[in-house]
Symmetry: none
DNA sequence: AAATAAAACGCAATAAACTGCAAATCTTCA
DNA sequence: TGAAGATTTGCAGTTTATTGCGTTTTATTT
């Protein structure tokens, strides 16, 4: 068997399973461990995979390891910072929950005036704690895991308010399907939130661009601002031109 | 299984549930506790999560409220313990806020069934986090110092529910004036809470017995249980015999 | 204050990776 | 064709990584 064949086989396996074990390969290819190791070293050198103890993993699979959590956190802060520019004194703002919203809440300047409506107790506490803004918590059943309030009571209370700006984090936004989500209760609430606001800003890390879930929240046309950590000119964002303004 | 796979699994679980238990992971992944601990330490080092006793939590949900040293915490725990005895499976319970309520929330057994209505987001989060109880947050304007919700919207929502037991912490309870408080908004809410419950339990540290504030919440006759850290036979409590039961 | 559970620490066993070397195989050119 | 040189391979010895276990320390609960 040619070296090339062997290395192609390894790459195929990586693409298939996102990982390979050195020992498996050595059985499947009938060569010694050392040979496999040398192959992996070569392939790593030309950037086709990442070696790890016991084998190797695909580069894309590896990506969420080294970079994200730290970086996603940084990205989220970047997004929060951009979003903050939309907020002015005296505004009525309605917010959802999620990690980006929490980052935003932590950045709100102490002297900002205005009213924050939110369905997230975490955001409510965070904002109330560090600013002089009025915080109105929209209540209802507390969803486990996401820690936001949902249910008919939330919808009813939302129907009674009117705000300048609605800030939503999102699980998935795609150029064809718009905003989508998985949880029915959450979708109902988000729909109502959007209805109650003059402007809608959607915050999303680039990683989630293109993702599609089962339930539709709203069309891209309804989105006034799309805020990501990317440069607005980034080609990844070109598909989202239906959105009023990309930040 | 590769280390990277294992750590990726842990991160997935964290993103999904916002928390993981060391022992769960060790079962699910079939490795020793030590290995999981080492993984968690690694992941914490690169900022992917925050280790806590018993497991780890998502960085973004890192509980933002480090509670200030709670005054008379031992006594409050004792009171919370006694109060817990009033709670049975399947009950509808309505609670206020305050440090004693938080202690109680932390003691709620994981397997308790029932519904918790509360005007305190902190209590709501605490209960939702550590039990399978349904948590309904009664919302409104978030009062800055007490972190509880007040206002007409709270009153209206309260008027629509009916619960078995209302749990209130109190600032002041006296044998002549009953429950009293200083904040008008808070008093309105407490009055409505009491109205909506079949039984009322008042929790108070002995130190506050005898204190009187300007605004009346309710009469001693309305109190079904008075719970303090003292022995029910304690002479200090003899003046409060109007209360149905002293614990 | 005692009992319990979890975490930290050091240690040893095992598995994997690395190193240098020699044998086997392949290239290339007379 | 066949021999020098280069490449590839497998092997033995050494180094490094990973893991589980017993013990001690620290947290948490009663």
């Amino acid at each position: 068997m040619l070296i090339e064949e062997r290395q192609n086989y390894i790459l195929t396996q990586i693409n298939l399973h996102n990982k390979v074990h050195t020992s498996d390969l050595c059985n499947e290819l009938n060569v010694s461990l050392d040979t496999i190791r040398r192959d992996l070293t070569d392939l790593e050198k030309i950037g086709k995979l990442v070696k790890v103890h016991g084998g190797a993993i695909s580069k894309s699979f590896h990506y969420p390891f080294q970079q994200p959590a730290v970086y996603a956190q940084e990205n989220k802060k970047e997004i929060a910072k951009k979003t903050l520019e939309l907020i002015e004194d005296g505004m009525n703002i309605l917010t959802g929950g999620g990690t980006i919203m929490l980052e935003l809440a932590r950045m709100i300047p102490e002297n900002l005036k205005g009213t924050f409506f939110t369905i997230s107790p975490l955001v409510a506490l965070e904002v109330a704690q560090r600013s002089s803004i009025d915080v109105i918590l929209i209540s209802g059943k507390l969803a486990r895991n996401s820690y936001i309030c949902t249910g008919p009571s939330v919808i009813r209370q939302l129907s009674e308010i009117r705000v300048d700006l609605c800030l939503l984090g999102t699980n998935s936004i795609s150029s064809t399907e718009g905003l989508t989500d998985t949880d029915w209760d959450v979708v109902q609430v988000k729909k109502e939130m959007i209805k109650r606001a003059n402007k809608l800003a959607v915050m999303s890390i680039a990683e989630k661009l293109g993702a599609i879930q089962n339930l539709t929240v709203c069309d891209l046309n309804d989105v006034d601002y799309l805020i990501t950590e990317l440069n607005p000119e980034d080609p990844e964002l070109s598909k989202y031109s239906k959105v009023n303004k990309i930040k």
